[in-house]
Subunit: 194 residues, 2 copies
């Protein structure tokens, strides 16, 4: 039996991920997760609300880290600059977490109930980033737009990073931003001559 | 009692919206909705799966209209150009639907369960737009990025349109695209000198 609470928590997360991969989300019970982790089901519920939450641990800390980084970004950075600064600041956290987050992405791709959870999580991240931009003096609707566009750019960079892990996330972020600039510099848009 | 099925459907939607506004989503039952619409509860379930779906009718048709418009956009339009063309093409549909969609937005803002539903709906729209862009020959990840950025730009335009309805959606879309260009033309980004 793992002795510390932290160790039990980590083992429960690992067991959750393994069982979701092996048997699928629906077929896995919290009792099986606890057994695999070598703890009681009661211990499971001391750490997590349900089996789904065992997969999304650390989300609040990640959201706070990102929005704090937006607030702490140099004052001369514009909204997208502040967001890119924040995304760059979590590179180590994300890199350290890859052995968990990559198989988790496989489980999520197979499981509609988890995809809904990811949508809620992403919406929460966007709201937090938008709130941080507003605290930097950005107007509300512009802050929402920037936070959504920033998150889309970050997701693009993270997907490319998964495809090409040898290149650092910072480099993928710079490329993603160039891709965004290229998309947005459209001269062929239909509204241009209206 | 309304005679035609279409008339009953329309009355059920209106009754759903009214009761959600008056009593809240949780406190409203399908029996009450049916009574308000002057039909039986059985008729309610002939039209809708549950009370939530009565609020989101026409979603599939709207998604198809948008993705078809992306496919039918002039071939020389780049990804954002094709998306703006598509958003512009649904202006009449959206304008005709405002007397329903605006009070619905009030209900949604008060109801977390409906906000989740909106996230799923928006994700479905983004996936459809991304699929349509791919069919225009846009690479998969770039199509995802463009669809997400396009949808964020559309949401910005729709919010501004709600604030300033005298100006046409097309004009708000053009302004939203300018705002996006302004955000994306950042020269102060931290990655610029890496």
């Amino acid at each position: 039996m793992p002795r510390s609470g932290e160790e039990a928590r980590r083992r429960l997360q690992q067991a959750t991920l393994e069982l979701f991969l092996e048997r699928g989300y629906d077929a896995t019970t919290t009792a099986e997760i606890a057994a695999r982790a070598g703890v009681t089901e009661r211990t499971f519920f001391r750490h997590f609300l349900d089996k789904r939450e065992a997969l999304f641990d650390g989300e609040e800390a990640f959201r706070d880290a990102l929005s704090n980084a937006v607030l702490e970004a140099p004052a001369d950075l514009d909204p997208m600059g502040a967001l890119l600064f924040a995304f760059g600041s979590v590179e180590k956290t994300l890199a350290d977490n890859r052995s968990f987050s990559e198989p988790r992405a496989v489980v999520i791709a197979r499981t509609p109930a988890l995809q809904e959870r990811v949508l809620t999580k992403t919406a929460g991240l966007i709201a937090a980033l938008s709130g941080a931009l507003r605290r930097r003096g950005v107007e509300g609707q512009v802050a929402n737009l920037a936070a959504q566009v920033g998150m889309a750019t970050f997701s693009y960079a993270a997907s490319r990073w998964a495809e090409e892990p040898a290149l650092a996330l910072g480099a993928h972020l710079a490329r993603a931003f160039e891709e965004l600039q290229s998309l947005s510099s459209s001269t062929s848009r239909p509204g241009a001559d209206r």
